[in-house]
Symmetry: C2
Subunit: 345 residues, 2 copies
């Protein structure tokens, strides 16, 4: 099968929102009035971001999901994407499943494939995604940029810090798949679903426009991604130990619940998963105390659980606190150090 047949067969869908989609030298997009274009690009590489034998449908889903997650973090509404796909070989069954995973998620979010490039090479999926955000600043986010987007830079001292959904379970699944730990079968299935089928929090991101002061997606680990917000906002954070532990769904759903999980792995390990694990694609965000009701409403509107985990403070760095407000020794995240694509190993 040639390149054009392959595109025609597996990657051609209607593009009603684009001025022009696949088939010319460029695609053409017309941003809506009063909107900026939000743009992000992320590549998934075989052996680095996924196992070569991963379910291709899950891979198609995840390749787009990690990009939509960046739009969600900015409060952008997805519009379109382009796909650069390098394939070691053309296998119809693989391409059908990959394409199904990709387009099912694309359709859920009204995000059109408007262009791409396919070539033979080591399996690599690079997606660039386009969304829209209002071009007028909101009251909640008073960063120096003239945009209604959620940025990393707007966190204020005294703001609450929140995380959506559950965090750390994907990293736990990865370690189980690598044979480093053993998980009961039902726990493993749930954790693996978190790793392979992340749900980008697009609806929550949209609902947080005008509510959150800063936002990032949790892709490289909570400590690292919250760290980006704190660095860009020049602030620090105090996090509640119990709230952090509650983010790990695996621990709550472990047979015998949290005490049983802690008996096997220890609560420090749970905190390491939460703070250092990656591949969660949740949102971490900050909002003024006066917006607690608005945050609850945004969570309800988007049917997404949101957990308050701490506060923004002026002193830099991240401090862990117990329920009585006592400072805990800082945690060595070790094996769960925030994912850096150029760190050794």
């Amino acid at each position: 099968m040639g390149e054009f047949d392959l595109i025609q067969r597996f990657f051609t869908w209607p593009t009603p929102r684009a001025v022009m989609g696949v088939g010319d030298d460029c695609a053409l997009l017309a941003p809506s009035a009063g909107m900026h274009m939000a743009i992000s690009t992320d590549a998934l590489i075989s052996g680095r971001h996924f196992f070569a034998n991963v379910d291709p449908q899950a891979l198609g889903h995840k390749a787009l999901a990690v990009n939509l997650s960046d739009l969600a973090a900015c409060g952008a509404r997805p519009v379109a994407f382009v796909l650069a796909l390098a394939l070691p070989e053309v296998k119809n069954a693989w391409l059908e499943a990959f394409s199904k995973g990709l387009f099912d998620l694309a359709q859920t979010h009204g995000c059109e494939l408007i262009g791409g490039d396919t070539t033979r090479g080591p399996l690599t999926i690079t997606i660039t995604v386009f969304g829209e955000v209002p071009n007028t600043p909101t009251e909640a986010a008073s960063h120096g940029v003239a945009t209604g987007a959620l940025l990393r830079s707007g966190a204020q001292v005294g703001d609450d810090i929140y995380v959506s959904g559950s965090v750390g379970d994907a990293a736990l699944a990865l370690r189980a798949l690598q044979g480093k730990i053993a998980l009961p079968e039902s726990v493993m299935a749930a954790a693996k679903a978190r790793l392979e089928w992340p749900k980008p929090r697009v609806t929550l991101g949209l609902a947080l426009r005008g509510v959150a002061t800063a936002c990032a997606d949790v892709s490289d680990g909570l400590r690292g991604d919250l760290g980006h917000i704190l660095e860009r906002s020049q602030r620090g954070a105090e996090l509640q130990w119990d709230a952090l532990l509650s983010l790990l769904a695996t621990r709550k759903n472990y047979p015998g619940a949290a005490p049983a999980f802690d008996a096997v792995f220890g609560s420090d390990f749970a905190a390491q998963c939460v703070l250092g694990g990656g591949d969660d694609y949740e949102l971490v965000f900050t909002a003024s105390e006066t917006k607690r009701l608005a945050v609850t409403q945004a969570a309800e509107q988007s049917a997404t659980r949101v957990t308050r985990i701490g506060k923004v403070v002026s002193a830099h760095g991240i401090t862990l606190m117990d329920a009585s407000g006592k400072v805990l020794p800082s945690l060595a995240v070790g094996d769960f150090a925030s994912f850096d694509h150029f760190s050794p190993g």
Copy 2:
């Protein structure tokens, strides 16, 4: 060196045209009033699109050039790009040279790097480029899409067919580098420069707005890329044999000129290079006979040679004609078959 240090050191340049550049979950672009966004993506993969030992400065240049060439084909003005870079290892000297080649070309065209993704993996450079085209159709191009972009679909029966610059020399250099043919040293240097340092015809593309009826860039070979125009326009072409041969700079500049080239390789081989060769990044376009002066002016404005090579006809397919108007037997392009990334070999 970590991912963030690497980006900071080698890939951070000012982004005055973007609302927000590198550093958040998304970049933000504000298209100018009355403009559509033109978008294209192209990946270069080591061993497939370039030799692993290629000059990294040339590679940085070419990775952006092949993308700018798609904007040129649409008559779009470059604005910005995002870069997804997979590197097998971090070598400062390599990255410095790559980054220089990339940003020298980016600055020439006022095209800003606004985001990206760097990761460890087989050397792959994927760029998505953004340009602007007017959102109002021009008189010259009466395709059904409401855009001022040059499209592939507007060629009319009776239109002249033109090609910019020289074509086929890059493919010739590739075959010499592969050891399939031998070229004199000075000829090889010039041909290799065409392969490694393509010049995207951005200025010509802009000058052809309102002049050309259809346009494509010559990346996979003239026969294939003109074929895209003809297919989308539902037309055919008659091409002048002599005009085609004149496109191969190597033949004109061969020691002893064209007769000497033909004595070594044959004129059929020259035509195969022109029709089937790839990696030229010239423009092939059509324009009404009434626009001959306007085409000449566009060529002069952009200091780009333009050659008229034939006419658009109603019968489908490409016919070759000699100077007396006699139809020549169609040419087997063989080894120079239009480049298809999924064909065998």
